[in-house]
Amino acid sequence: MMDVEKIRKDFPFLKRGIIYFDNAASSQKPIQVIDAIKEFYENHYANIHRGIHTLSEEASEMYEESKKVVAKFINANSWREIVYTRNTTESLNIISQMVKLKKGDKVVTTIMEHHSNFLPWLRLKHQKGIKLEIVNLDENQELDMNDFEKKAKDAKVISVGHMSNVLGYISNIKEIRKIADENDSLLVVDGAQSVPHIPVDVKKLGIDFLAFSSHKMLGPSGIGVLYAKEEHLREAEPFLLGGGMISDVFIDSFEEAEIPWKFEAGTPFIEGAIGLRAAVEYLTSIGMDEVEKREKELIRIMIDGLEELGIEYYGPKDLKKRGGLVSFNIKDLNAHDVAEFLNEKKIAVRSGLHCAHPLHRALGINGSVRASLYIYNTKGEVQKFLEALKELIKLVG
């Protein structure tokens, strides 16, 4: 079983006495990640793949080692399937170009997507004339799988969020993979909210492309992951040209480097990769099954508490279909004012539209308050949060 008190000792930010429930936006960092970056700067720093001197050798090896650790974490076939980007958004934008769509090709996405899994496809609709289908929610505020099946007919690409950053709903990727198979579609998964919180196995789930961010999973911000099956990476064209992505250059042509390097032109965020590795190792040492179990336990208490207080929350009522976050609203109060009140109680939550405007429109609301959990949160913190909301409701009258 997960030892929360031991985990909490690893997170220096807790000294501030803040209850941090804004993990879906970004997570805090354990000392192991902070130390890994510090140690790299102090003892091994140099550019990678650029020199034969000792430091460059060490840095290059450490950078590649990071990819091996990440590949294993999501059960990729090889570290060559791991491309480092800046974040999920950048990964999804690149994927939208990698899949090479032409006029009339169909892409299916859903109403619950974060803008980063919506706008790149919307742009292709306007620029290239692709068909864009949006799957709706059913009455339980889950993805309507009948609508999914209908809209996915003959789709070239299905691009779906693994876990909604507003609803907390976890998509049934296995079922969506079946739909993709029926239509011979590529499956793109936005794993920004899932990879940090639940086990994600790209092979078991049959994912063609997966995007996620380091900063939401205890690692540094500024580095993200683009996973793609090796065959897709080999076929795709590089999107940035320059140093590091070629094997040879002539005055009127060039030869591409091997994957994944052909997608990483220029000096990458080396220390970011070092930090991400430490973060993945930290999560692995706990075990993603444990992380998921722990968050489910806490979210159950939180949602039971919200229901008891008569607070409206969004997403499925069936907790098996939810991850560790919940968005809600309190009567006539604006979400930002609720967040301000909680901030006074040293509770950090997110308020607003959470980069999901179409979803909020579909829900008929102009914003929500979101509490999102992680491994360092405790039952006591959830209780304090619920007590604060109780006090607020009493004040509003």
Binding site: N334, A335, H336, D337, E340, F341, E344, S351, G352, L353, C355, H357, H360, N366, G367, L392, L395, V396
Partner: protein
Amino acid sequence: MIEKILKMLKSIKKGKLPSANAIIEKHNSEHCGDWVRLYLKIDEKNNRIENASFEGDGCYLCMVSSDKFIKMIKGKDIKEILSLDEDEYLKKIGFKDISFQRRGCALLSLRAFKEYFGERDA
């Protein structure tokens, strides 16, 4: 603090103005969901705001400041309102100490007004 906010929110008056001859809408660029719609009855001859009201949704800073803005501009010369410096304005409406991140909330109505008349004059 929350008691103060709730009290301020209760005193706000929102609504349309049927006699308005200018309607200005602005959403906060911070994509937080905050928006205001200003209804203005302009005395075109004297370039004066005869009457005004507002509708909108947003955080208390946005709504309270908009309410104060509406009260402040009634009967005022448009040029006079356009000449208001943002810091001076925040001081006038009692929000001079708000954090940097939240300035946009409290300035939304003034900025909407300035954009509209700035563009119209240009």
